[in-house]
């Protein structure tokens, strides 16, 4: 440790200097910040891909893109948005803000957390290296065999997809695992489960869902990779396999996935609404219960992605009912949000604007969702632009607007600088108008018969004007995003200082400095209500039991955190957390080398990767974790 301030708490939590310190950082805020930044970059990349596609479809029989490039772009757009943006950004907010909201000092397994980030980053790079190899995945983000199988995709493009996605999924499972442990065992003393912020509830349910939904997909992708590399034929009907098996596995993951990315966004909205309406959220218990209900019901709707594949009557009716049923808890949440607006005094700042954008757009997407849940109508709408429009209303309305709301709300906490309200407002209106201009016409053109995933269409069958509107809208959205990014960049240098609590927040993250100290809270806060900062201002930061003083002024150089009981959050024991480590980076790199070996069919490279894995696991476990 080079900088010694004389304060043991600061010294033990400080990041090591230099590149090695940066690479070996394990604190949840550094990892969370990297997650958020990386996910946002992938989001922008995926967005640019959509501009290329929209430009191609702006006019009939356009030759701007050839079909091969178009297929690659829509595959990578979907893959990027779902696997590299939507899931990671939700977990990223969780990794950064849940510990702060809970009054915790770090994630329970900081090294694993760092490994999760590196696995995500390397997985993303692995996927995108397919552009360098000139073999970009092109079978859609859902990669249905036989098209994605060895016979119809003989080149390496699908190997990039399968291995890259698996890599990223591993990261998702790890983060989920940690978030569950964090929420159940590391809440501020007194924060009984009935007092957790709703954002934390949503992350708890999301993470649990990931643990149930992702491992089967990892299994599924491994089987498909085996089909491709070893010729096993799990999905090949010619040798007794079945392409429907893949569809069931994929959508078992794929529909909960929609709620996996939606629930954190609902949580963000639940966090922002009370602060910007200056009232407590209406229906806390109903919202929390609805979140749990969505988590459970979301595993009973996957077949609605497969209504046209020849599902029997019982299946059709069951999954129609499931798909209709899940809108009830969704509606409960929306009505609770509206009631909160109604009871409160809404203040029109960018975070709230984005929240209102979410409400308006998401309700629309929910209604078109009810339509496609109705099987006979879905047989018309399925795989048309009506569905494209529907799920962009759900995903952009349900995820992007809340994420932007969350960024404008929490960025001042992360950087200590405020964003500009005027730029934020301009960005919001450009996004909102551009979004509706892009996707509203797609409902119509879908009903007029335009299927998805077509690189071209003929003129004269009524599709031209809607496509043109859509393309113009996409570029308006791009302008809105540019303003948003400019605002974020500007705030870095010219943003007004935020202070600890620029919004008058209700939850614990606003009780610490902006940006927070590496240890978050010198004195561990004690929470006795759902809105601790509104009910006990200033927080009681003195007194309390002896362990509280010892944690504030440690006698040993260790990173310490208190664990609490699952339901009542009674203090349980003081734990020591691991510090700086390069092993997570090494482990992720070794895993990457192994996957490259599989990818290029080189046993030697694969063995090097496996050896690296063994070395890193041993090194990780062997190394002293708790002392500087």
């Amino acid at each position: 440790m080079t900088t010694v301030t004389g304060d043991r708490l600061e010294d033990v939590w400080a990041t090591r200097p230099g590149l090695v310190g940066w690479l070996g950082a394990v604190n949840h805020k550094q990892v969370g910040q990297r997650f958020i930044a990386t996910a946002f970059v992938f989001f922008l990349v995926g967005g640019v891909q959509s501009l290329f596609m929209r430009y191609q479809l702006g006019s009939p029989e356009s030759t701007f893109l050839d079909p091969e490039t178009y297929n690659q772009l829509f595959t990578m757009h979907g893959t990027t948005m779902m696997f590299l943006f939507a899931v990671p950004i939700g977990e990223a907010f969780g990794i950064y803000f849940v510990p702060l909201m809970l009054g915790a000092r770090d994630m329970p397994f900081p090294r694993l957390n760092a490994f999760g980030y590196w696995a995500y980053l390397f997985g993303g790079i692995f996927l995108y290296s397919s552009f360098l190899a000139g073999s970009v995945p092109d079978s859609g983000w859902y990669a249905y065999p036989p098209l994605s199988g060895p016979e119809y995709s003989p080149r390496s493009n699908l190997d990039f997809w399968l291995l890259g996605v698996t890599f990223v999924e591993v990261s998702g499972v790890i983060a989920a695992f940690e978030i569950v442990v964090l929420i159940l065992r590391f809440r501020a003393p007194g924060m009984a489960i009935s007092r957790m912020p709703l954002f934390v509830w949503s992350l708890l349910v999301t993470a649990t869902m990931i643990l149930v939904a992702f491992p089967p997909l990892i299994m599924g992708t491994v089987l498909l990779e085996l089909d491709r590399k070893v010729g096993t034929g799990f999905y090949d009907p010619a040798v007794g396999g079945d392409p429907m098996l893949w569809q069931h596995i994929f959508w078992w993951f794929g529909h909960p996935e929609v709620y996996i990315i939606l629930l954190p966004a609902i949580g963000i909205v639940s966090a922002i609404l009370p602060v910007f309406t200056r009232t407590r959220i209406v229906g806390y218990t109903f919202i929390a219960a609805a979140t749990v209900a969505i988590g459970i019901l979301s595993f009973g709707v996957w077949v609605h992605h497969m209504f046209t594949t020849g599902i029997n009557l019982l299946g059709l009716t069951f999954f129609t009912a499931g798909s209709l049923l899940i809108t009830i808890p969704g509606g409960v949440q929306i009505f609770a949000f509206i009631a909160t607006l109604w009871r409160g005094r809404p203040v029109f700042k960018p975070p709230l604007l984005h929240v209102i954008g979410f409400l308006v757009v998401f309700v629309f997407g929910g209604l078109s969702g009810v339509m496609v849940a109705s099987v006979p109508f879905d047989w018309q709408a399925h795989d048309t632009y009506f569905v494209v429009a529907h799920f962009h209303y759900v995903l952009i309305g349900g995820v992007l607007f809340p994420v932007l709301a969350g960024l404008t709300y929490w960025l001042p906490k992360m950087t200590g600088r405020l964003l500009d309200d005027r730029l934020g407002t301009v960005a919001f209106w450009l996004l909102f108008a551009g979004f509706n201009l892009t996707f509203l016409p797609q409902h119509v053109v879908g009903l007029l018969g335009m299927p998805r995933r077509v690189y071209t269409y003929p003129s004269g069958i009524g599709w031209d004007v809607y496509n043109l509107l859509s393309t113009v809208g996409a570029f308006v959205v791009a302008a809105g995003m540019a303003v948003f990014v400019a605002d974020v960049v500007r705030s870095r240098w010219r943003g007004a200082p935020a202070g600890d609590d620029p919004w008058g927040g209700n939850t614990l993250e606003w009780a610490t400095t902006s940006p927070p100290e590496p240890f978050n809270f010198r004195v561990i806060p004690i929470a006795t209500t759902r809105d601790p900062l509104w009910d006990e201002r200033p927080l009681d930061l003195a007194g309390g039991p002896a362990w509280r003083r010892e944690l504030a002024h440690p006698v040993v150089s260790r990173r310490e955190m208190v664990s609490t009981s699952v339901l009542d959050a009674a203090p349980h024991e003081v734990l020591t957390l691991p510090i700086h480590s390069l092993w997570p980076l090494g482990l992720a790199a070794a895993l990457g080398v192994f996957l490259i070996g599989v990818m290029v069919d080189r046993t030697s490279i694969g063995l090097v990767g496996l050896a690296g894995l063994a070395v890193c696991v041993i090194g990780w476990l062997w190394s002293r974790q708790d002392e500087p």
Binding site: T279, T308, T317, L324, R343, S374, V444, L448, G449
Partner: protein
């Protein structure tokens, strides 16, 4: 909270209202603009009983959705503007909930959804009825990137009628589509989806499975459709058309299709026939050519000249298009499975092939 200066709300009120209106207007246009000349694939303009059942459901669900949309968006806008912070610093009354309201807004959506579920399930069952006694059964196979239609005859497989991309049906009679993915003679490749929007919703063609659906048309006419499940490079070019005839006219068509074309074979046409008989019959069947072994890898050419379009129904059946196609199919339809003959045949030979193909009526 730093008190924000209250802003004028005018601009914000109309944006969503206009957007909502735009949607309604657009859907209305789509629903009413049923001129087949302009919107030949309008799913909301049913041309037969099956599509009408599906459209009826839309007619129930859409007004409900519009009603809920207006109600909920109205609530949002009202709450946002009526109760917005006016900078006067009065904190709102702090209320954490109202159980009666919360129960109410759980039950009402449930009732609305039940109202949607009942007609939905009824329609699901109606559509699942077994085929009518007199239904015409057609076997459909989707291939990269075209459609093959086989009309089985009871007597002799040699009498089966096989066409490509054009599905001819009689009006007023149910047509039972069997999407045969269980290893038909012609082989299976990837997943496709059969969709004629004005006649019925879609059903997937899945390798290893047989899926069925029904279509029917009230009036004679041409009803276009296209593959709806992404199937590779030329997914966008995998189109088809249903041609509905009066029953008598259909019987005539069918009888004609069951026989080979009676072409006059001499001169250039004879040369073309000879080339086809040598070079093409490895993949194409041409009933009437001695060397044709009835192979069904590629489209059956027996009555090729009667088809309006070819190559996944994207090219008009003209001599120029045919010449260009035979020379280099991939140039016109990326990923087409047919090899290019521009190198192995001279331009004159291709002309001869085209001349022969154009006699196959």
């Amino acid at each position: 909270m730093r008190a924000g200066r209250p802003r004028r709300s005018g601009m914000r009120t109309w944006v969503p209202v206009v957007l909502g209106g735009l949607l309604l207007g657009a859907c209305e246009t789509a629903a009413l603009g049923g001129d087949t000349g302009e919107l030949p694939m309008n799913a909301l303009d049913p041309a037969g009983p099956i599509a009408r059942l599906q459209d009826n459901l839309w007619n129930v669900v859409f007004p409900i959705a519009v009603f809920v949309f207006v109600l909920v968006q109205g609530l949002i806008l009202f709450a946002v503007f009526r109760f917005r912070d006016r900078g006067d610093g009065t904190p709102p009354r702090q209320v954490a909930g109202n159980t009666r309201l919360e129960v109410l807004w759980t039950i009402i959506p449930a009732l609305i959804l039940a109202g949607i579920a009942v007609p939905t399930v009824r329609t699901i069952f109606e559509l699942a009825d077994p085929p009518a006694e007199d239904a015409l059964i057609v076997e459909v196979v989707g291939k990269q990137y075209w459609w093959e239609f086989t009309y089985r005859t009871e007597q002799d497989p040699a009498d089966d009628v096989v066409t490509a991309n054009e599905l001819h049906i009689p009006t007023g009679r149910e047509v039972y589509i069997e999407l045969n993915g269980r290893d038909p003679e012609s082989g299976v490749d990837v997943i496709h989806s059969f969709w004629i929007p004005r006649l019925a919703g879609k059903a997937d063609y899945v390798p290893g499975h047989t899926r069925t659906m029904r279509i029917a048309a009230d009036e004679p006419g041409t009803y276009p459709g296209q593959c709806a499940e992404f199937c590779g490079l030329s997914h966008a070019n995998m189109k088809m058309v249903v041609v509905a005839h009066d029953p008598a006219e259909f019987d005539e068509w069918f009888a004609h299709q069951a026989e080979p074309a009676d072409a006059e074979v001499d001169g250039q046409i004879a040369e073309g026939a000879e080339i086809v008989g040598q070079q093409c019959v490895g993949c194409h069947a041409v009933d009437g050519l001695e060397t044709s072994a009835g192979v069904q890898i590629a489209p059956n050419l027996t009555h090729f000249a009667l088809r309006e379009r070819f190559a996944g129904y994207i090219l008009d059946t003209t001599a120029d298009n045919l010449h260009a196609w035979i020379t280099d199919p991939q140039d016109l339809k990326p990923g087409a499975q047919m090899p290019a003959f521009g190198e192995s045949l001279t331009s004159e030979q291709i002309d001869a092939v085209v001349a022969y193909l154009q006699t196959l009526e």
